[in-house]
């Protein structure tokens, strides 16, 4: 009888050996985490020399986390997020993080992040679509508890019908939680924004969690050019005692402290306390503006600022709009573009000024309700200028031809 041709070593579809033993680190520790040195955030974000690489969005996020001096990451799989937190797992195995585990589900993840952040360490998690919805009760409680943390959101449809395709309807829910919410356009942003987010959220006058959202698959699973600084530099560690509220580490008097006191007695003082605390939490997000301007280079980017027709977009819709602007220019039309980088705080003053001269404002989106158009209409005068579209959803792509119909040919619905 012929010998079996099957290999003795079992591998998974990616070719990794399946074994009960831990995989040895893929990077030598001395050259990796141990060789990193802390640098000033301004240097890491703005000044350090960078080299161009061609990587996926998930890999870009991994490179951000590698340089962010993260203490603990808590993961749970969901498409299209899983790959990023797997990559972060490899960083943990290589010594870049001090703790990492796969939790029970998203509510458990987001609650554990709440606990970890209260202990004073720098935390990371990531989720997508239905996972965000499952965790949102806990997420919505983070800002009021003043718990800095990083939440990466790889947008996908919210079931039903069940699907995993890109669609950013979930951000409309996230916008009213009190988190700082940045919307990354591409792989480069998905590297830069998490690092900036950590530094902004941990500022004493801010002390808030930050979400960095990106459109799933279009960015997470596609390669793009990303300019990266050297891997041997990282952010300073979290300085938790500089923040707005005490840590729950029992290290500081007074010994009688309940940072999370229930305020639910039926009397005016309780209502007043809750109301003023909500006001303070939203005011804290407002105080992040100056840091976001410093490190993002402004809450918006404006292309062709004098054009009479302006596109306003965030996320992957910006990339499509850039291409539409290029094609329109080739055809001899002058079209402008405003990229909204920060959804919370929302760049209302920037939009009022940049759109003052515009006669027509087109707002393309990857979701059905058109939340960005509503946001823009809420803050600018003369809203009859706004065309809320084109909108694609459920995983559809946004062809530039469709955009140009709205921009050049007067299509409105």
């Amino acid at each position: 009888m012929a010998e079996t041709l099957e290999e003795d070593v079992k591998t998974n579809p990616q070719g990794d050996v399946i074994s009960a033993a831990p995989t040895p680190p893929k990077v030598e520790t001395e050259k990796g985490a141990a060789a990193q040195r802390v640098v000033d955030p301004d240097y890491l974000i703005l000044q350090a020399p960078r080299e161009k690489t061609f990587i996926t969005g998930s890999e870009a996020a991994k490179e951000a986390i590698r340089r962010s001096n993260v203490d603990i990451a808590i993961s749970y799989p969901i498409t299209p997020q899983s790959e990023t937190m797997q990559q972060v797992g490899y960083l943990y195995a290589e010594g870049y993080l001090k703790d990492y585990y796969r939790a029970e589900e998203e509510y458990g993840v987001m609650s554990a992040i709440a606990g970890a952040s209260r202990s004073g360490v720098r935390c990371l998690t990531a989720t997508a679509g239905p996972g965000l919805m499952r965790g949102i009760e806990a997420i919505a409680s983070w800002p009021g508890a003043r718990t800095p943390a990083m939440l990466l959101v790889m947008c996908r449809v919210i079931n039903t019908p069940l699907a995993i395709q890109p669609d950013n309807i979930e951000l409309s829910y996230l916008l009213n939680t009190g988190l700082i919410v940045l919307h990354a356009e591409n792989q480069q942003d998905f590297y830069d924004y998490p690092i900036i987010g950590y530094m902004v959220g941990e500022k004493p006058e801010v002390t808030l969690p930050v979400a960095v959202a990106v459109d799933g698959f279009f960015v997470t699973h596609a390669r793009g050019w990303v300019r990266l600084p050297s891997a041997d530099i990282k952010l300073p560690p979290r300085a938790c005692y500089h923040e707005a509220v005490p840590m729950m580490d029992n290290e500081n008097p007074p010994i009688r402290i309940s940072r999370d006191a229930p305020i639910q007695k039926s009397n005016f003082i309780s209502y007043q306390m809750h109301a003023s605390w909500q006001q303070e939490t939203w005011a804290a997000a407002e105080r992040s503006r100056k840091w976001l301007k410093r490190w993002l280079g402004g809450l918006v980017e404006v292309v062709n600022p004098t054009a009479k027709t302006m596109i306003v977009a965030s996320g992957a819709a910006v990339s499509q709009s850039r291409e539409a602007v290029r094609q329109a220019t080739e055809q001899g039309s002058d079209i402008g573009l405003i990229k909204v980088k920060s959804l919370r705080p929302f760049p209302h003053q920037e939009l009022i000024e940049a759109l003052d001269h515009a006669e027509k404002i087109v707002i393309p989106e990857f979701n059905y309700p058109g939340w960005l158009a509503k946001e823009v209409k809420n803050v600018i005068p003369r809203t009859e200028r706004v065309i809320s579209g084109p909108r694609v959803f459920g995983g559809m792509s946004m062809p530039t031809e469709l955009l140009l119909e709205y921009v050049l040919e007067g299509k409105k619905h």
């Binding site: 993840v109 554990a112 606990g115 029992n250 500081n252 010994i255 940072r259």
Partner: protein, 293 residues
């Protein structure tokens, strides 16, 4: 934190609230106290809005006295009667969302472990039967499966007391309560058995009829969680309002329930047993602890 941190600076005594002054002059923050001394020193909890005669309050008071290191302890709770006391104790208390306790405690304990590698920080979840066995069930079980090193104390009053008397998973079968208009249809959940299945290192079922035993149980649970793995204390803390127990009869009820179906039981894993035996045999002095029974 170091107890030296909470000493009053000379000259400032007169400016401290009396209640705080007492706390740093005559409490467990000064020296360990015994259960038998309760009433003669400043306790970590004193004022609270609990109902008259509440057994849960007695249990929590006793639990506070038993803490091995109150100056390095953090409580985690959730909605329910217990947090009305816990939020006013002299130990930091995290009041999270509904049923999130064991996930919050997992993150907290790990974070504290990163920041204070050489200093034990005790994390204790104290929440009700609804919070732990119903809404927080999956997070309780998974924290045990993951062998998270903190203590879970169930304040089991067999009802949703704080929301007005609804059936919980820990209610006895047949009980007529709100949301169980024809009586509860299924048996009281066996959390002790589930804890064993999940590999909890120390498990105890206790009724506050014997305060010294309550204190000893809490001490074992906290110290074993510090060194070995997850621990679970299920305490019968009756709701005299929803179960219509006359206030003077609360302890009579506790004794009856204890004799009928809530006998004291404790279970040690092999590792936990070895660890605890060493403590007892060597009569190791645990700094800052109350006296072991």
């Amino acid at each position: 934190m170091s107890l030296a941190t909470v000493r009053v600076s000379p000259g400032f005594e007169q400016y401290l609230p009396q209640e705080y002054y007492d706390l740093v002059k005559d409490s467990q923050f000064v020296s360990p106290r015994k259960v038998s001394e309760m009433g003669s020193f400043k306790e970590l909890i004193e004022e609270h809005p609990m109902c008259a005669g509440c057994a849960m309050t007695l249990f929590i008071r006793t639990m506070y006295v038993a803490l091995p290191s109150p100056e390095n302890t953090v409580f985690v709770g959730t909605a329910g009667c217990g947090r009305l006391v816990l939020s006013q104790g002299a130990v930091p208390f995290i009041y999270g969302n509904y049923g999130d306790t064991n996930a919050v405690a997992s993150g907290l304990k790990r974070g504290l472990g990163i920041r204070f590698a050489d200093k034990p920080k005790d994390v204790i979840v104290a929440a009700g039967d609804g919070g732990l066995a119903d809404i927080g069930f999956s997070m309780v079980m998974h924290s045990w499966f993951r062998k998270e090193k903190f203590t879970t104390v169930m304040l089991d009053n067999e009802v949703y007391g704080n929301t007005g008397g609804q059936e919980s998973g820990m209610t006895q079968k047949g009980m007529v309560l709100k949301m169980a208009p024809n009586g509860k249809k299924f048996e009281k959940m066996d959390m002790i058995g589930l804890a064993k299945t999940a590999g909890v290192a120390y498990i105890a079922r206790v009724v506050p009829t014997n305060p010294n035993r309550v204190a000893a149980t809490i001490q074992k649970a906290v110290l074993i969680a510090r060194e070995i793995g997850p621990t679970f204390v299920q305490a019968y803390t009756s709701c005299n309002i929803e179960y219509a127990i006359p206030t003077p009869k609360v302890m009579d009820d506790a004794r009856e329930v204890e004799n009928a179906r809530y006998q004291f039981t404790e279970y040690f894993s092999d590792d936990a047993k070895e660890y605890w035996d060493n403590i007892v045999v060597e009569k190791r002095k645990i700094k800052g602890s109350a006296t072991v029974e």
